[in-house]
Subunit: 382 residues, 2 copies
C-alpha cells in the first residue's frame, strides 16, 4: 500500500497519516486482542470502558503479565502525566479517564506527574511562572475527572523534587546521552535540562516499589507516541531492581482541523476544545470542525459519510457517546447518510456543554484538596 | 621553550608538566598581581594568607571588581565545593582554607556544595551509599577548619535538592548540550546525570542573590583546573539577572609520588596524605615521598636541591610552614644544601602530626552542629 509508511511518530513529532497496525509493528508492541480485553473486563467486573471497547486503546506492553499478577493478589498502580504548556483539551483526558476508571474499579493508587520543569525546557517561549501555574490548573482538571483523594498522589516536579531526586540520581547513571539522542532526536542545541529529563519521567514507575519496599507493578496508559519514553525506562528497570512498567497505548486523537493529532502547538488553537474555552468558542470550533462528510447534502444522503476520518466522530468515540447504542447510532447514521453533519454537531455539542458544566463544578470542589495530593518528601533514604 | 605546551588541564584530566603562566594565557584569566594582592591585604586587615603570599593562588577572574564592590559596602559571599569520592587529603583543603580565612577576616557567608550526586555519576565504581557517606565525612573535615556555624551554609546535593532545583531549572535551559560537550569533553556514553550536573554546580553562585532578592557577588577559590566549570556559569549569569562569579585560581598541588597533582584516582593512594590516614601511614608516605634532592648526600651538600619540584616542599608551602620565616628557612636550606631531605621530612612530619591531632579534635566538635548547616528548602518561589 503506497504511502503507508510515510508517517513519523515520536514523543516530539507526529506527522503523516498514521497506519496504526504498522506503527505497532515498528514499535514492537503487542496487540490489545479481544481475548486480552475480555481478561480486563473480567478483572474489573462489569463492562469495559468505552475507550477500550471502541478501540481507542489498541496496543500494549506486558498487560497480560500485569493481569496475571493482579489475579494472584499483587496490586499494581497507575501512572500518567502532563506537560503543562497551556490549558488541557479534551483529548488530553484520554489517558486520565482510563486511569480514573481503573482506579474506580480496582481501588488502585494513581500517580500523576506534572512536568512543569520539562515543559519549561522543551518550549523556549514559556516562562517558569507559566509552566508552574498551568501545572496547577491542569492538575485541577485532571483530578476533577473523579480521582479518589485518598489514593491519588501527585509529583509536581518543581515542588516534588525532594521526593523524586534520590531515585532520579540512580536512574540517570543508567542512561547514556547516546540513548536519549537516539530516542528523542536531540540536537547539540538541546538544553541539558531536557537531556536529563527522561530520568525524572522514569522515577514514578519505580517510586511505589521504593516507598513500600516491595515490588509494585506499574501500568501506564498513554498515547502510543509516548512509548519511546518508557522504552528507555523499561530497558533500565531490571538493572535497578524494579519491574518494567506495563503500557496501554491509545491511538492519537485527530484534531478538529482534520489533522492527525489534536495538537495546538503553533497557531492551531482551533484544532482542539480547551477545557477553559467559553461556550461560544466551543460552538464555533465544533461548527467549523473538519468532518468526513460529502461536498453536498444530496451526495451525503446518497453515499453516506466516513466516520473514520471525521474529527466530530472522534469526539463521540473518545468521550461524548454516553452509551454503545448511541455510539452505534451515530456511526451507522453517518455511514448510511441518514445523519447529516449539522445535526450530528448539534447533538455532540449538547453533550459537550453538559460535560463542561459538570466538569466546572467538579473542578471547584477539587481545589479544596488538590494541594494535599502533592508529594514533597522522599519516603526514606535511598 | 620546547614542551611548554605539552600539558592538558581540564576538570576531569590533568597531565604533563604544567606551565602555569601559559595555562593562564590559554584560559584567558588575569594575573594575581602584587598590586591586587596588596588590595586584598588592605581589605582584610593584617597579613595576607600564606597561600596568597606564597603564590599558590596566582590567577583570578574579576577579583578587582569584587574588591571595588566590597570597598563600597557591597558584601560578597564565598563558594566552594567537594565531590565526595573518598576521604579528603591535605591538598583538598587549599580552597577551603582560603575561604575560612576570608570568612574570619570579613565575616562573609560561606556556601559549601557537597556533590554526592555528581560523584555517583562521574565514578561508575562508587555506590550511592558511598558518595552520601563520604559526603558527610568530608563535610566534617571541611567545617573543622574553623568555619563559623552561623555564617556557613551547605548544599548537600541529594538532601538540598529542594533548595537548589527551582534555580537549576532556569540555569539548565541556558546551557546547550554542545557547550558541556565542548567544555568537559563528554562522550556519547556519558550518562545524562553528568550532562545535567553543571546546572546544579552553577546554582550556588546565584542562590544568595535569589534568597536575598538583591545582587550578592560570589567569590570562588578553586584549583585552576575547575575554571572551565565556572566559565559556563559566567557565560549564563547575566542572562539570568545575576552577577558573574569572581574566581581565585590556585596551582595544582603536586602529589607525593612526584606527579603534577595530588590525585589518588586509580591505584595511587600513596600520592596523598588522607586526613584519615593513621600516623604510621603518614610517616611512611612522607618518608617515601618524591623530593627535589640529589642522588647522594655529598652531591646535595655541594649543589643544593630543587624545592620547586619537591612534593615535601609543597607540603611546607601549602600548609605546614607556620611562618614566613620558617618557609624561607626551609626553602633556602633546601636550595643551599644545608637542609637534607631526611631532616626536612622529620620537621614537616612533626607539624603534620600536630595538625592531625588538632584537626581530629575540631572534627569531633563540628559533628554537633554540621547537620544544622545543610540547607533543605528554597527561600521562596522562583
Amino acid at each position: 500500500m503506497p504511502g503507508s509508511e510515510e508517517f513519523v511518530v515520536t514523543p516530539y513529532e507526529v506527522k503523516g497519516r498514521i497506519d496504526y497496525e504498522r506503527l505497532r509493528e515498528l514499535f514492537g508492541t503487542q496487540e490489545l486482542s479481544p481475548e486480552l480485553l475480555e481478561r480486563v473486563r473480567a478483572a474489573t467486573g462489569g463492562d469495559l470502558h468505552p475507550l477500550l471497547r471502541r478501540g481507542v486503546y489498541y496496543s500494549h506492553r506486558d498487560l497480560a503479565a500485569l493481569l496475571d499478577g493482579h489475579a494472584k493478589g499483587h496490586p499494581f498502580f497507575l501512572y500518567s502525566g502532563r506537560g503543562p504548556s497551556g490549558p488541557l483539551h479534551t483529548s488530553h483526558l484520554v489517558p486520565f479517564e482510563l486511569c480514573r476508571w481503573f482506579q474506580e474499579r480496582l481501588h488502585v493508587p494513581m500517580y500523576i506527574q506534572i512536568t512543569d520543569d520539562e515543559k519549561y525546557w522543551a518550549r523556549g517561549g514559556l516562562t517558569r511562572e507559566e509552566t508552574a501555574s498551568w501545572g496547577l490548573e491542569n492538575l485541577y482538571d485532571i483530578l476533577a475527572l473523579g480521582f479518589d483523594p485518598k489514593r491519588t498522589h501527585v509529583f509536581f516536579d518543581s515542588r516534588s523534587i525532594a521526593a523524586l531526586y534520590p531515585l532520579a540520581i540512580r536512574v540517570a547513571r543508567k542512561i547514556p546521552y547516546s540513548t536519549v539522542k537516539a530516542v528523542f532526536g536531540f540536537e547539540p542545541s538541546t538544553n541539558i535540562g531536557l537531556v536529563f529529563y527522561t530520568a525524572l519521567q522514569s522515577v514514578p514507575c519505580f517510586w511505589p516499589s521504593w516507598a513500600e519496599g516491595r515490588t509494585v507493578p506499574c501500568l501506564i496508559p498513554c498515547g502510543i507516541d509516548q512509548d519511546p519514553h518508557f522504552r528507555v525506562t523499561r530497558d533500565i528497570a531490571e538493572g535497578l531492581g524494579y519491574p518494567k512498567p506495563a503500557l496501554l497505548h491509545s491511538q492519537m486523537i485527530p484534531g478538529l482541523l482534520g489533522e492527525n493529532v489534536m495538537s495546538t502547538t503553533g497557531d492551531r488553537a482551533d484544532n482542539a476544545l480547551f477545557l477553559n474555552d467559553p461556550k461560544a468558542v466551543v460552538d464555533r470550533k465544533v461548527r467549523n470542525a473538519f468532518t468526513g462528510g460529502r461536498a453536498t447534502v444530496e451526495e451525503q444522503r446518497r453515499l453516506g459519510a466516513t466516520p473514520e476520518v471525521c474529527s466530530v466522530w472522534a469526539l463521540w468515540r473518545t468521550r461524548f457517546a454516553e452509551s454503545e447504542e448511541k455510539f452505534r447510532e451515530v456511526t451507522d447514521g453517518c455511514r448510511s447518510g441518514t445523519l447529516l453533519c449539522g445535526e450530528c454537531k448539534s447533538q455532540v455539542l449538547e453533550r459537550i456543554h453538559a460535560f463542561y458544566r459538570r466538569h466546572a463544578e467538579a473542578r471547584e470542589k477539587v481545589k479544596e484538596w488538590a494541594e494535599s495530593t502533592i508529594v514533597t518528601t522522599a519516603p526514606k533514604p535511598l
